[in-house]
Every structure is written in C-alpha cells, then in structure tokens.
Subunit: 287 residues, 2 copies
C-alpha cells in the first residue's frame, strides 16, 4: 500500500465518492474523428481488423494449447472447474506466435499509441473462450479501478482491445459499455482480501472492486448503455476506466475473443494502491 | 397418466424425437396478414394495447397485493426467498380488478379467439415483477410441453399474451423466440418428479421439461432467433408450443409484465400425459 494523496483512492470504507477524472482520455495530438469519438464515448469499434483465416488460426490455438503437455498445470491456463476444457489463456501473446501475429495484424498497438500519446507495452493479454449455453454475466466495473488498487497503475492511461473471434450479437452476452462513464471515477467499497485474484478470476459475481447497485443506477441514468455487437474479426478498443459489463449467454453461439491491454510507458506500475501484494506478471506486467 | 397413443408424448427415456406438429397454429378463418405472420413465426406483437395510465395502475397493484393481509401465506403469491417482496402473483385476473380490466383493454382475448377459432378461457394468469440487477435467465422451452405433460392439455390450441409493464430492451433480458419452431414438437427426457411445480416455479435452471443442448442447437440452426423488444404497454402473443427463453438482466431496468394464457374451450384439460397428479388450479384452470 502507498501513502499520500491518491486522486483515484478506492476500496474505501463508508460512503463511496464519484469523482471527476482529471486525466485525459485521449493523450495524443493531433486528434481525428475516430479519436474524438473515443474521447466522447470511451470506446471505438473497427470491423475486419483481422482476416477470417487469422480468426480460424487463433481459434485453433485453443485446441493446441489445451493439450500442450508443457502447459499442464500452468496457472496462466484457466480451465473448467470440471474437465480440462480451457476458458482463458493468459499471456497469449507470449504463448502463441499465431495470436501475437493476429494482434500485430489488428493494428491495435498503433491505435493505442495514438490514444495514449506515447509508446506502449502490453499490460495483460489473454484469449477467452466460452462455449454456447455457458457464458455467465459479468457485472459492471471499471478495469482501471482494479489495476490501480491491485496492480499499482497510477493513472487511467491504458486501453483495452477486444478482438472478436466469434460474432457478438445482442443475444449472446456482448460487451455493454456506459458511453462517457470513463470521465468519472467510481470509488468501490471494501478492503481487498489477500490473493483476491484467485477468486476474482473465476467468479462472475465479484464482491470487491464493483460499484453498488445505487451507483450503477446513477451512472446508467447519466450515461445509458451501448451494446457492442460485431462480426468475428472486429475490434473494440475501450478506455481503462469506462464502466462496462457483459451479459449472460443461453444461446448455442460460443463467445471467443483476444483481449489485450496496452499501458503507456509513462504509466508504469508501482506498488498497489489498495492491496497488500502485487499480482502475478501474467495479470499485470511490470513493463 | 394416460394410456394410448399420444402424438405429443414427452418426458421419455432414451433418445428424444423431434416430431412434426400435426395440429394447426392458427385455427380461425378467414385469416388476416397479422394472423398469417403469427402462423409463420409463432408470435405477433402489438404496440400500445394498454394506456400509460393502465400500466401505472397495474404496477401499483403489486404494492397493494404485497401487503394485503388477506393474501399473507397465499401460495399464489410467490415472494423473494429472502424478504417479502413479490415476484409473481398468480390468478392476477381474479385477485385484481385493475389487472382484469387491463387484460380486457388489451384486446388479447378477442385475438386469442381469432387465432384459436373458438371460444377461449383463461388457463393461467400472473403478474411478474423483477427489479433491476436480479432477473435470472430462463432456459429454452415450449410451454405446451409442460402443459401437456403436467396439466393434461391435449393439443397446442392455446396462446399466451405477455403485456409489458416496463420497456423490454435487448439489454434487460427480453423474450427470445425461435420463429417457426412452433411447427415442431420437441420431446423432453426424464420422468416428472412428484410436486415438480414447487421446484420449477422458483428455479431458472429447470432439469425436466427442457430440451437438451444438442436439440436447442439443432432448432437454433433451423430457425434462428428473434429478440422481442418493445415499450411498456406493448403486447406479444405467442403460440403455446414455440421454443422460447429469456435472458438475464444485470441492468438497473426492472422487468414487469402481465402474462395470460388463453386455451380453447375445445382443448380442455384432462389427466396429465406424463405426471402423477394434476397441478393446482392457479397454474392450470380446468375450464
């Protein structure tokens, strides 16, 4: 934990505050209509950033990694509680040349540099796969709140790219973003338990690092919501502090995506702001 | 249970069949474009079937009935597991003059008569209320499969009206229908447990009376899906055998609707086709 004044203080006791974000959303200059839209809404979408062949190749990597004997027991491979099917593969840009090249093909890094106005590095990467019928909802949250509290990320000078490997439709639990919510920082209540990531990675109903229902309602009334649908091969890039969630999925349509977080080299991690120890590098690289 | 050949046999052992429905979907003549659409897709939608004032009056009935001392302990009032908040009120057309008049205002009964080609009676009615953040998903099923198996409804000569008391949007778990699926009858596997309705009314993940994931996938590939959104005051009428589900809701927007099932007087209930005893009248009136 760190001493001193923290404008993004969180995991507080008592009544949480909703604070204005003092840092910009787009740090780069000159701006473009696409970046102005990003600054306004906290996200942007591009179609066809990777080819169908690349999509197929990335999906095939799940099958390959799933049975790779060298990765048996590796904590970066999150498997089904029952069975050996893979749900998330962290460090995917390290573990898979195919996915690393797909990220390169997507143009996400150049876009991240434009938005963050500096060189960037990968803070976290993973490939997520959920078969049909099994996608639980994921509750409203700001990623930055967690990265600040648990990883020591100083400011919200980071962006996430979600590259779709399956189509995202309104019915199979797409990303939902409150557009504009990145301009506010919502304090969360409660002390971070030790080794909290071991629980938070597997639950879909986190208790820590999420705003209260009253606050979500207030934010909803201010900003409304956009459902981010799109074909396989499309990309959504979103601000690290935008309030977002994803719905459940009871359809047969699976959901898979590559998720890459780019952090500014001006924003390297320090000690956690509201947790006892740093998290493992596969969750938060230290640049 | 009943002996003899049953074209809608269900709750079977072993491999379930998908059978053609031999009964029509629209029994009335002459037809209209609206009814032809219903026959094709298994549902129709009308906007503004009840006024805003009626919507408000119906919502107020929840608060009234919730605290009515005469209804304390009444099994028709399904409350929260914790607390006393009301989730569903069965027999709502009997318990509330306001809601009975709203149903009358909606024109649902006349429409049901047109579709079913006969006089009709109310098989079941209820008012459903789910606050924001708390609506679980409800898995794919055909209502008729349950009514046939557990209530002794001979044929799918019944329709359901869902009258929206809140807006239904893609993001707050609307009704999802597989259009055209009413033309097939999907057998379900497994014996009906005694008093199964006591469990099936409170769970969102029923084990009995639902098709397998393989069958849902096959149906999905044949029919696709429509998400039924609409403003408060709109009505969806759907066939008793159409395959449908509803998604979960993690938004602050509550969901409330009046649900009324009309059955043809030519289709009165007999003994259950696949259960030991009949269910209570508030779930299945016997005409």
């Amino acid at each position: 934990m760190r001493a001193g004044i923290d404008q993004y203080a969180t995991r507080v006791e008592g009544q949480p505050e909703i604070r204005d974000r003092t840092d910009p959303c787009v740090w780069g200059l000159p701006s473009t209509p696409e970046l102005e839209g990003f600054a306004e809404r906290g996200y942007l979408q591009r179609d066809g950033v990777i080819s169908s062949a690349t999509v197929e190749a990335c999906l095939a990597e799940i099958d390959r990694i799933q049975v790779d004997p060298r990765l048996k027991g590796d904590e970066r491979i999150i498997r089904e509680e029952r069975g050996t099917a893979v749900r998330s593969i962290f460090d995917i840009d390290v573990l898979s040349t195919v996915v690393r090249e797909a990220i390169s093909e997507s143009g996400a890094e150049e876009l991240a540099r434009q938005i963050l106005g500096s060189e960037v590095y990968i803070h976290q990467s993973r490939l997520n796969y959920k078969p049909g019928f099994q996608g639980g909802a994921f509750y409203w949250h700001s990623d930055f709140e967690t990265w600040h509290a648990e990883d020591g990320m100083p400011t919200p000078r980071a962006v996430s790219a979600s590259i779709a490997l399956t189509r995202n439709e309104a019915y199979n639990g797409p990303l939902m973003i409150m557009p504009g919510s990145q301009r506010l920082f919502v304090q969360c209540v409660g002390k971070t338990p030790a080794n909290y990531h071991r629980r938070s990675l597997v639950t879909t109903t986190p208790q820590i690092g999420v705003p209260s229902e009253d606050v979500v309602t207030e934010m909803w009334n201010s900003f409304g919501v956009d459902m981010l649908t799109g074909p396989a091969g499309s990309m959504t890039m979103f601000d690290s502090n935008v309030m977002h969630a994803s719905g459940g999925n009871i359809t047969p349509i699976p959901r898979a995506n590559i998720f890459v977080v780019f952090n500014s080299v001006q924003n390297r991690l320090g000690q956690p702001f509201a947790a006892g120890a740093t998290r493992p590098p596969y969750l938060a690289r230290r640049g």
